[in-house]
């Protein structure tokens, strides 16, 4: 079809590579997504405390990681963290080796990048919370703690969900950049395959389709979650 040659796909070795790449991509995405959500929650909660110096530090963190390319962040982590002292001496050979593997560098920098996006998303989610509902809960005599757990948190979670979907898909897509620092994920194996077969166009089209399907699954699952979590009379629950 269209003069594309996919005969290399029948080679079990390449199938293995693709599978391994997909699994590594999912692992990297899952790991950094979890960490990003945790960073986002901690950061957004820190902002609600309204302590001015904590606020300033969180804002600085968010702006630095949002306004620099994640690719550069990854390269920085990979090439310079070991120079800056993060290395250990291998007892068997006596050589000093970097403490962090390429995979660790990629997941750390992706977590921080995603975390910065998540803080921003959660913060604006909390900000758009309808004041009237909080006031109603207050006038009903809820304590600070039960108001948070029974009224504020459930609403905030539902407000933030669409933004969270964006962040998760964004992170998933950004994992492809980890191939630049030799993390063996899908994009990296794609490079290996076309170096072997010289079928660049065919490999890239296939990889593009795989990524789009994987990201679509994430989007679909999040949309289902959003519908499942919706409550009547608010947002999408009708």
């Amino acid at each position: 079809m269209f003069g594309l040659d996919y005969s290399w796909l029948s080679d079990p070795a390449y199938q293995q590579w693709l599978l391994k790449g997909i699994l590594n991509t999912i692992e990297l995405a899952a790991l950094s997504s979890c960490a990003a959500v945790i960073i986002g929650l901690v950061g957004a909660l820190a902002l609600t405390l309204r302590i001015f110096w904590l606020d300033a530090i969180v804002e600085l963190f968010v702006e630095v990681f949002r306004n620099t390319p994640p690719l550069l962040q990854m390269l920085f982590a990979y090439f310079t963290l070991s120079t800056l002292g993060l290395k250990v001496t291998d007892p068997s050979t006596g050589l000093s080796v970097p403490l962090l593997s390429a995979f660790a560098c990629a997941s750390i920098s992706l977590s921080l990048f995603g975390g910065a996006l998540a803080i921003e998303a959660f913060r604006s989610g909390i900000e758009t919370m309808p004041r009237s509902i909080i006031e109603a809960a207050r006038s009903l005599g809820y304590s600070r703690w039960s108001r948070f757990w029974k009224v504020e948190a459930p609403i905030a979670a539902r407000i933030c969900l669409p933004a969270l979907t964006n962040i998760l898909t964004n992170l998933f897509k950004t994992t492809s950049q980890a191939s630049v620092i030799t993390v063996p994920e899908l994009m990296y194996y794609a490079g290996q395959i076309y170096n072997d077969t010289f079928r660049t166009l065919e490999v890239m089209i296939l990889v593009l389709l795989i990524y789009v399907s994987l990201v679509s699954i994430v989007t679909f699952a999040m949309a289902r979650l959003e519908r499942w979590m919706a409550f009547p009379g608010y947002g999408k629950g009708h």
Binding site: N67, P69, L72, K173
Partner: protein, 266 residues
């Protein structure tokens, strides 16, 4: 002092602390590394050692982002309005294309464009060449256009339905409603989104290094080949700062506009 001023004071303090730390580090031997960076700075910024003519570097990244944004704005407007069309023959395919582009990683799309687009194209005997720069522009413009069409959709849909009903009852046609009533109002609301998208695109131009153009990362990699491990840290910090210094003001300005627009929801 107000809360905001206190916060600003802390941020200023942190900035001063960073400057002080750099000065201390420079005094303790970092100066020679900074000297290496300073020597290479014209190359990193403009792509030529003396600073002129401009053949690449960070300025090429800026040019690339502007060119891509222009293409993406035109393409995204068409795509966004197509996804709002009444006819499913127009709406469904554009929806599919938009979601496909939105769900594909920028890097993979850029790589794919590199191989899908021909080296040159002959149209009616006219030869249109596709140098790496043009491929990078198209590769970056496609996902940006998809995101921009989402911005347009959001802005148009955020216009109160009363506006539609009022203009329909006044006898405007569909085209006239868009032209005179909806788009002028929606335009105001899409500017912050458009600017955020531009900042995102600028950040993504770092990926264009895979197309082989002489952008700041390509030059960085070639010049790092002859530097020591220690200097690399200083080089990376410089490039990170360049991107930050360019994108942060845009983000600030976009947020200010966003707050200004927030109030005019009918």
């Amino acid at each position: 002092m107000t809360y905001e001023n206190k916060k600003r004071a802390v941020l200023l303090l942190i900035a001063l602390a960073v400057v002080a730390w750099i000065a201390v580090d420079a005094a303790a031997g970092g100066a020679q590394y900074w000297a290496r960076v300073w020597l290479r700075l014209p190359l990193l910024l403009t792509g030529s050692g003396s600073g002129w003519p401009i053949t690449g570097g960070f300025i090429l990244n800026i040019l690339l982002s502007i060119a891509s944004m222009a293409v993406a704005t035109a393409l995204g407007t068409v795509m966004g309005l197509a996804t709002l069309a009444k006819s499913p023959i127009i709406r469904l395919p554009s929806f599919f294309i938009m979601n496909f582009l939105r769900n594909s990683p920028w890097l993979v799309l850029l790589f794919a464009m590199l191989y899908i687009l021909p080296f040159e194209m002959k149209v009616f005997g006219l030869v249109i060449p596709f140098p790496p720069f043009v491929k990078a522009v198209i590769g970056l413009a496609l996902p940006t256009a998809a995101n921009f069409s989402e911005v347009i959709r959001g802005a148009v849909q955020s216009i109160h339905s009363g506006q539609w009903e009022a203009s329909r009852s006044l006898g405007y046609t569909q085209m006239q409603i868009y032209r005179y009533v909806i788009l002028p109002q929606a335009f105001r609301r899409m500017i912050p989104g458009w600017m955020n998208l531009y900042a995102l695109l600028m950040i993504a131009t770092a990926l264009a290094t895979v197309t082989g153009i002489q952008d700041v990362l390509t030059i960085l990699n070639t010049s790092l080949a002859m530097e020591s491990d220690r200097v690399i840290v200083y080089f990376y910090l410089t490039i990170l700062f360049l991107f930050f210094a360019y994108c942060y003001p845009i983000a600030i300005f976009a947020r200010r506009l966003e707050n200004a627009v927030k109030g005019d929801n009918l």
